[in-house]
Symmetry: D2
Subunit: 137 residues, 4 copies
């Protein structure tokens, strides 16, 4: 995976459960937040798209958990993306613990854009990528 975006976060205590580790579902929040930050940076804000009638909807999530994060751990979410077929976008995401560079999890999140509930081609992405001099394929 070629990473086009990275962001750093820190585990907050309330994100941990009685095992003293980050709850599995919370990692999806981290992954989502990183995707939305990335989309915002390329001009495709989630809330604004929603107001325009366009929603990005995840259709499939695969996560391989390798390490658990604990309170106050600092980590980096890395993100790459590619097209799959005509309408699917696949985000390849990795979370890395900052203290030792070890992989916390690998994830693939497949999404489609919808307008009024129907899948549309992700041409918004082509344009946004072109404006950065990247290629989305």
């Amino acid at each position: 995976m070629e990473s086009v975006f990275e962001m750093e976060m820190m585990v907050r205590d309330y994100e941990c459960d009685i095992q003293g580790i980050v709850n599995n579902a919370v990692y999806q929040h981290y992954l989502e937040h990183a995707r939305h930050q990335f989309l915002h940076e390329i001009g495709l804000g989630f809330a604004r798209m929603h107001e325009d009638g366009i929603d990005a909807v995840a259709t499939r999530v695969e996560i391989d958990y390798k390490l658990t994060l604990r309170p106050r751990d600092v980590f980096v979410v890395k993100l790459g993306l590619r097209k799959q077929g005509r309408v699917r976008i696949v985000f390849d995401q990795t979370i890395v613990r900052k203290s030792d560079g070890r992989t916390v999890l690998d994830a693939q999140v497949t999404a489609v854009l919808t307008r009024n509930g129907r899948p549309i081609a992700p041409s918004l992405f082509d344009e946004a990528f072109a404006s950065k001099g990247w290629k989305f394929e």
Copy 2:
């Protein structure tokens, strides 16, 4: 998948995001809650196992999202499980919308039991299953 456990829940408003639908991460909470209810019913409570030094840790999650749930939707989480290799347990989980019986998502959650951070054979499951007259294989 053969379902050995089912439970019904209702979407709470705070579980929905600005798209007006249940946030993707929340489904992992639903799936987790159903697994823990199931474990409790077969005598393997999550909190009690944790106190005994045994933790059930998810190593892989795959979710295919098919439909979105909305505020106040009633749904059923169905659960089957099987062994994979010597230490892995795979939970096959499906969420079905009650109003029309349509599948909301299909999930496979792979877990291992750990004692002091090291994987152990899930013999606890064999015993719990045997006590129900089921077979865990």
Copy 3:
């Protein structure tokens, strides 16, 4: 406080934090869910009101925490309400642990209805209450 609505819930494991108890913020979710259930029962659904341009907005929350809930505890949220001035509604809410009837917390949640961001008189409540033969004052 005179209770006009009660609902029973059970603590889910993911709602507990590293202290092994329900996280403080989660109680606000319980209180909100009970208020929304109540509003739904009197014909004032939260999501539907939002679609009609009317939002119920909390302006003040006071919570006295007396006991902590733990995984799988069953509890009852009790709710009364009254007017305060021309636009404020005060919800008196109590959470009681079912096993022994002890009070977990007492809360007062003050809310206003807004249309397009501006407070409006809660006449919707008068009508809804009248239809139940109750008095909202």
Copy 4:
């Protein structure tokens, strides 16, 4: 209130509900995270204290909500604290929206330290404060 600690955060999309604004309960997470960051900075980490058998438990929360935060809003949580009686600590917390300096909410969170479930005098705080040259009173 005299502020002894401030931290900046940004609203994440998943923290907003179907009204498009930050859910009320989420502000308690923001307030908690700021308190824990502060405690960490003065050497009183929440997770570490818990391992030592000492828990900080909130006994009362009062929040006056004045403005709502929206996706991507940047805000500052400010924190002061004082003793109340022999065992209570009161945190005075304010959340300010960064773009215009307006107050989002004012909160007072009363807490006690407990060891094995029983309140203890917050002498840990006296020592931590003394080491900073502050006075906790």
